[in-house]
């Protein structure tokens, strides 16, 4: 749905993040609101699974967007907004982790943790989600930090490998290696949890962009 003929719209009819950011730079607060609406959940989700701590993820997510507000004046559309804001969030998380030894509080397979993660299942998939989701969360949580980070940025943030390299400050080849290890480890873990690639229900939801 296009808003009007003048506004350069992307394929899906929405104004690009970068244009919104430029508008916010010029003092347009609703443009910022739109950016928050688009990216807050992906960022929060990323931070939650990166840190395994809901309260911390919430704080970090707020911090990340406050940084966006603060840095808006000096922002230049060099990288995509999405890459930038994920980099901000990621660096905040790692800075904080460096301060207070990056450690998950619960054991990986702790059923309590898995249960907590499943408190908001999608409405149509509630039943199967109650069974499957905790296991998927557990499998993801079992990954080493740097692999989990790459996996989340690729699968959930939808960043390309080159962009992930930018966000994490590592070589693109390193990013791809970590992704291969992550996928391999996930497969082994899922198998151990009794979930094969043929698990029903996963089909209609595709994460590919």
């Amino acid at each position: 749905v296009r808003f009007n003929g003048e506004r350069p719209a992307e394929a899906d009819g929405l104004e690009s993040d970068e244009r919104l950011m430029l508008r916010f730079q010029a003092g347009d607060v609703p443009a910022f609101e739109e950016l928050v609406r688009r990216h807050r959940t992906p960022i929060f989700s990323f931070l939650l699974r990166l840190t395994g701590d809901r309260g911390r993820a919430e704080d970090l997510c707020q911090d990340a967007f406050l940084r966006v507000v603060k840095a808006a004046g000096a922002w230049e559309p060099r990288a995509t907004f999405r890459t930038w804001v994920f980099a901000v969030a990621r660096n905040l998380a790692f800075d904080e982790a460096r301060r207070q030894a990056f450690r998950r509080t619960e054991p990986l397979d702790d059923p309590a943790r898995a249960g907590e993660a499943s408190e908001a299942p999608g409405p149509d998939r509630a039943a199967e989600g109650a069974l499957l989701r905790p296991k998927l969360e557990a499998a993801l949580a079992s990954l080493p930090d740097e692999q989990r980070e790459v996996f989340l940025l690729r699968e959930h943030a939808g960043l390309k490998f080159a962009e992930i390299a930018e966000v994490t400050g590592t070589a693109e080849n390193t990013v791809k290696s970590r992704m291969r290890y992550a996928l391999e480890a996930l497969r082994a873990k899922l198998e151990a949890l009794g979930i094969g690639p043929d698990v029903a229900g996963a089909g209609e939801r595709s994460a590919s962009r």
């Binding site: 807050r40 993801l140 699968e155």
Partner: protein, 373 residues
Amino acid sequence: MTHEELRERLLELAYGELAPGEAREVEAHAASCEACRAELGAIRGTRHVMSALPAEPAPARGERILVAAAREAVRAREPRRAWPRWLWAAPVVAASLVVVVAVSLRVDAPPPPSAAHEDPNALRGEALAKAPESPPAAGAEARSPAPPEVASAPAEPRERADTAGGAKGAPVAREEAPRLAQRKAEAEARDRSSLRRHAAPPEEAPAEDLAAERFASAPAPAPSVRAEAEAEAKRAEEAPAPARRAKALALARPGTADQDHDAASGAGAGAGAGPHLREVITPRDRALAAARARAGAIGFSMAGTTVEVGAPLTWAEWRAQHAPGSDAAPPDALGARRFWPVVFLPSRPEGGGGLTVFVEDGTFRALAEVRGK
């Protein structure tokens, strides 16, 4: 591509990051190669399963706070944008803060006819008299004529008396002299005493004192002066001498004494107000220059402008770097002394060729300004 190279690309194929031609090639290989087919299947299978994991919705409570913060930030940006405009409306503040002599010349302008004495008031008067005739290229922004206080606010009666005869081009300044003489004298007395206090190192004191007297700007306490300007004047008077010296030296390179000597000798030998001298720099420009220089910022960037503070140079050194081949004479106020070039480079191409403000020393008095082409 070899099997290994193709296998390397399976990950990118699975994530749709290969160019169409390459993707077809890798896909075709995977169809025929057992190992690659298995690996591609494993990647896609794992993705497929993991894709059942939805995003965790961010708690709603944070959103209002963010929007409020954004609104606050936008509001906070507004007054800062308005600040230069305010200065523009009250140039007396900017002038009393910053400048005694603000002249500009084109780098390629012919050398001025020489005259007996340099007189900041003469330059000043000339500048004001000429301002309306300034060509648009040099004038840049539309400027309102400065109130009379500007012309003589930074001046010193003693020097005016000394050099009034030589101030050929300064009818404006001379007419105003009597009216403002008394206030000037008070300001001068206060200013000079404070400057003396700051002339710390004994071996430098005479030269610095002389230079300071010539270029001291009187912080005339006009009723319209904003709190900021008052605070600034206060700071200038109250700042302990060592701190000010340290600031000055931080920007200096070895040879400060030489510079002061240059300043002293340049004081008597300067040429009069040449007809090519015009004031084209807005109070905003000067205030910005002084503010940035005071902060000692290097490589500062604001609102599309890069500001750089270079190492202290003589006019000849600066000219050799920035206008090679030119033999343009130094602005009169500059003489043979060293100065800090503060360069403003607009990042917008239509912004013109930039502006260089020559700052005397760590106390940041603008001596002269040159518009780029």
